[in-house]
Structures are given as C-alpha cells and as structure tokens.
C-alpha cells in the first residue's frame, strides 16, 4: 500500500461519519445527565474521563498494537482490559463497538493479518479492534492513543448537543480546550507494551451509572 500520511489516517478514523455506529454512543454522558450532571459540568466530565476510562482504553489500544506488531498473543490484553472495566454493561458496549469497527476493517483492509487476528478474538473490545485497524493502516502508537482520547471527548460533546442543547460552538470549544489534556493522556500511555502496565484507572461512578443506564428503558444512547 502507498504510504498514507498519519494526519490523513487520523482524519479518517476520527471522522464522525466513519460508519461504526458512533451515533449510538454518548461516552456515558446520558447516564451522567440522568443522574444530575449539568451542562456547566460537561468539561469537568471530559477531564475526568481523560484521567480515568480513557487511559484504560488508550493503554489497551497501544499495548494491543505493540503485540500485533510483534506477533504476540492478544488474549492477555483483552483480559487486562476486562479486569480494568468492571461494569458488564460497559464491556458489552465496547464489544459491540469492537464488532462494528472490525466489520469496517474487514472491508477496508481485507488482506490485513492484524485485522483478521483481532476479528478472531472472542469478544474483541473496541480498543483492540482499533489497534487492529491501526496496525493494518500503519498508524503509530502515539497517534492511536490520541485518537482514543479525541474520540471520547468528541463523543461527549456531540451527545451533549442532543442531551443538553446549547450553542454547538460552545461544545466544540470544550473539545478544543480539552486537547492539551488529550495530548497528555496519550503521551502517558503511548510507550506501554505490557498488558500489566495498562492503567487500572476505571471510574467507579461512571461504571455504576453505566450499569443503571443499561437497565433503563428510556435511553437514547447505547451507553
């Protein structure tokens, strides 16, 4: 394959128009709002996720990418991710998103060995599916970690426009202001190679809300 510049690959992956059912996700914001989170608190919510769940996700993605590049088993990565994601509802959602990503990857990189390897996993979570796509596309670890962080923040922002309607320029301002934190979180995990080193920074409140959300009958978003 001809070399594709990293920034163009990131644009492709981070685009909300990527057909991976991104519109069904709120990165936990719907559950948080149902439990009283206000519009003014959304930037703090983004920061809290960047300090916790995003590090688990991004750490899982870069370790999976390393192991794909070195042909090491992926099962320990999935196990480490599951141990750091106590909510069954969040694990199930991540696996559904992983299937959606793998479906796209199978179409874009049909010959990619990494894509086939992650698709064969039993219950491939989203960060591992992203790692498979990154390996096939030629995206480096730091870029992959940034992608995970950026996507989380942007998912919160776009869901906020449905849940807590406001001037969309304000929501984009939140994303812009969170970029240095996204960069810092990505730097922190980009060098990880061992599943044991994936940050164990789940956010218990987010997990509890996610469990309650999965049982609610009047939700707009999957999670």
């Amino acid at each position: 394959m001809d070399h594709v510049p990293t920034d163009l690959l990131l644009m492709l992956f981070a685009d909300a128009r990527l057909p991976v059912a991104g519109h069904t996700q709120s990165a936990g914001l719907e559950a948080a709002v149902q439990h009283g989170l206000t519009s003014a608190e959304v930037p703090a919510y983004m920061s809290a996720r960047l300090a916790t769940t995003v590090r688990v996700e991004a750490g899982t993605a870069v370790v999976a990418l390393h192991r794909l590049d070195h042909e090491l088993p992926l099962e320990p990565v999935v196990a480490a991710w599951a141990a750091r994601t106590p909510s069954h509802a969040l694990r199930r959602t991540s696996r559904a998103q992983g299937r959606a990503m793998n479906r796209l990857s199978a179409s874009l990189w049909a010959d990619g060995a990494a894509v086939r390897r992650v698709a064969r996993l039993d219950g491939c979570p989203r960060p591992v599916a992203l790692a498979g796509a990154a390996a096939a596309a030629g995206l480096d670890a730091l870029s992959l970690a940034r992608l995970v962080g950026y996507d989380d923040v942007q998912t919160v922002a776009s869901a906020s426009l449905k849940l807590l309607p406001l001037d969309p320029a304000a929501a984009t301002g939140w994303v812009h202001d969170a970029l240095p934190e996204v960069a810092a979180a990505a730097e922190d995990v980009a060098g990880l190679t061992d599943p044991r080193d994936i940050p164990a920074t789940a956010a218990p409140q987010t997990e509890v809300w996610a469990q309650a959300h999965a049982r609610s009958t009047r939700r707009l978003f999957s999670a």
Partner: protein, 228 residues
Amino acid sequence: MPDPSPTRGLRLGVCGPVGTGKSSLIALLCRELAGRMSLAVVTNDIYTDEDARFLRASGVLTPERIRAVETGACPHTAIRDDITANLLTVEELEEEFAPDLVLIESGGDNLTATFSPALVDTQVFVLDIAGGGDVARKGGPGIERADLLVVNKTDLAPHVGVDRDRMVADAEAARDGRSVIALSRTDRASVDALTAWVTAEVARHRAGELVPTDPGPMAAHSHDHPAA
C-alpha cells in the same frame, strides 16, 4: 450492495411517520406468519426498546427473537447513512435463529426517511388514513417508490372525514403501478393481501429474483441525458 443470497432469510423494512401503525403491522405479520415461517424482529425507537417491549408484550414471538437498536436520537441515520448497528443486530439474529424473515422497524421519522438497500431487501412504507387524505398525493420517496405502500387504519376513514378510495387512488397514481394495500385489521381480505405480498417477497428472495432497490430520498431522476 447487499448479497441477495438465498442462504439468509429476507430482510424486510417497515418505515413511515410516527403513529401510522408500524409496530402493529409487524405484530400482525408475526401473528399471521409465525405458523408458516421462522421470524425475527429488530426495532429502532426513540427510546431504546419501547417498540420491542410492545412486541414482546403482544406475545407474537419469543422475546429473544425481538431486539432493539439504540439510535442516539438519529433514527434516520440508523437506517440510511450508518446502518452498522442495525446490520450487526440483523446478522446476530440470522446467526442464532436462521430466520426466513427478519422484520426491521424504523424509528418513526418523517416522510423522507427510507431504508438503505444495503440493510433491507424490500421495504414497506406505512401511512395512515387519519394522517389526512392529502398525504399520499404530496408524495415523497417512501410513498412513491417503497416496494409496498400500506394505507393503514382504513376503518377510521368515516370518523376522520377522509375518502378512503380517493386516498388509495391518489397513492396508486403517485406510485406508477407499484403495490398499494389499503389495510385494516378488521378487514380480513386486506390482511390476506398483505401476508400474500410478504410471502411472495420471501419466495422471490429465495429464488434469487429480488434485487433491492432504493426509493431514494431524492426525487425520481427523469430528464433526458444528452448523448456523450
């Protein structure tokens, strides 16, 4: 393009505006067809599983054959632009139950929402007589070009001051010969016409003769192209 392979069952979409009777039509089809073929249902609703619960409560299918897809308040996107969540759910049901027919109900949207032919093999657009006699005449992609147009709740016509025959005639005129069924749950002949249409679509699919077509959100394209 979807593979119209007879190795999987027919995927039938049901769309149309809110309140026209999509869920009831699916419940009716399940009751009528469950004895003859294996069925599964996917719902897309504003709030997750309202329609799925309605169908489960109606007892027409076992609950595990009825799945709800969240649309993030984007029912149109979920059946048209990014159909991934629906496709994954349909494939899951096909893998588990190998149904002859999967019915996919859109979230009640507007007159412009139709299914992508990459998601469904054939689609029904549902209007109801109480929505007003002029709706069929106004047209739109689903009304004009869905594989079947159902004008539902015809028994209400005298109560809402709509001329049923006129509305059906308008619909037929807008559809250029495509099928129209004037449906009422209390009119046995109309129910039989609906099940016969669905059964025939299943047979066409099995025979490999059904090619999914897009009703489009755009108006039909009908000008002369200049010679190249």
